[in-house]
């Protein structure tokens, strides 16, 4: 049983680290962006631009936050 819990913890930890990493806000923004892109696409609105914009903006925000934390 202990081994099973340890395996479940390791599995959960791996996926948390894989998806959220050091800055969970980037993954959440990308997830929200994908949902909005799907809604735009379903409404026949051009949607390919949204995720690249989110990537560029969130990367800048995250780097700025990390820079402040280092100082």
């Amino acid at each position: 049983m202990k081994l099973l819990w340890s395996w479940i913890y390791s599995f959960g930890h791996f996926w948390y680290h894989y998806i959220f990493g050091d800055d969970w806000t980037m993954a959440v923004a990308v997830g929200a962006g994908l949902i909005v892109s799907a809604l735009l696409n379903r409404s026949h609105v051009v949607a390919w631009w949204l995720i690249p914009v989110i990537v560029v903006v969130m990367l800048g925000v995250s780097l700025r936050r990390a820079g402040r934390a280092r100082r």
Binding site: D22, G31, S37, W48, V55, L63
Partner: protein, 255 residues
């Protein structure tokens, strides 16, 4: 979107002639094989090869089972949801490496290769399997391999030349794979922090493209949009590295 919508250009080339089917299948498969090899070589050079090879072999194993089990019925697998899931996972993970790559190149320049490995995001040195490298290689091989199989079945069955189409698909995979193996040595000489940035940019590029394509979004220029995304993200990396260096070293642009 139909799974083969991205091959509209190639489809018009296809006819019932075996040589035309061979060339068409080879070219369309090579596009997918290049994407697969970029991911495997990039991940292997950054995280270490052992787990990457295990992930690659497992991906080909799963692929072989699917192809043998389904045969020509393969084209009925819904590729869209698969592209969406794999693309979204590559995107969120690639973005983390993109961020770390920018920070490290800004801080160290190209001196990363001479430094001692600092954390788990760099080469794996533990005794077990590096599941990150495994998962990245596995997903890249399974998705792209499945797309090659779709190409072979669609062009081969359409022209009643499944054997010839299979040769074209396998030849593309073998040739592009061999080119990737030859480039492995060159890639390994790239400084580690810079390599992490390159792989991060590439994973983010493919992740962006596949996730949106998987939900049925039409990219302007079809596969050509990958180059546009790559250019955008490379420019973004250059701008953020410059800004990070100015911030870190208190530099200001000349008036």
């Amino acid at each position: 979107m139909h799974p083969l919508a991205r091959y509209r250009g190639f489809e018009t080339l296809a006819s019932n002639s075996p040589i035309t089917v061979l060339i068409t299948t080879f070219l369309a498969s090579a596009v997918e094989a290049i994407e697969m090899v970029i991911i495997v070589v990039g991940v292997g050079a950054t995280r270490g090869w052992r787990s990457t090879w295990i992930g690659t072999a497992s991906g080909f194993g799963v692929l072989a089972v699917i192809v043998v089990a389904l045969g020509a019925a393969l084209s009925r697998i819904p590729i869209g949801p698969l592209r969406l899931v794999v693309g979204a996972l590559l995107l969120v993970f690639g973005l983390q490496w993109f961020r770390k790559g920018v920070m490290r190149v800004a801080a160290r320049g190209f001196a990363g290769s001479t430094r001692v490995i600092e954390d788990e995001d760099e080469a794996w040195t533990g005794p077990g399997i590096d599941w990150t490298a495994f998962a990245l290689a596995f997903k890249g091989v399974t998705l792209e391999g499945l797309e090659i199989a779709f190409v072979v079945v669609a062009f081969g069955a359409g022209a009643n030349q499944l054997g010839v189409a299979s040769i074209g698909g396998v030849a593309a995979l073998v040739l592009v794979g061999a080119a990737g193996l030859l480039l492995r040595g060159v890639v390994q000489r790239v400084p580690r922090s810079f390599l992490q940035l390159i792989v991060g940019v590439l994973l983010t590029t493919f992740g962006t493209f596949w996730s949106l394509e998987g939900m049925g979004v039409d990219w302007p220029g079809s596969d050509g949009a990958i180059l546009g995304l790559l250019a955008l993200y490379v420019a973004t990396a250059a701008v953020y590295i410059t800004l990070e260096r100015q911030r870190a070293f208190g530099l200001r642009p000349a008036a």
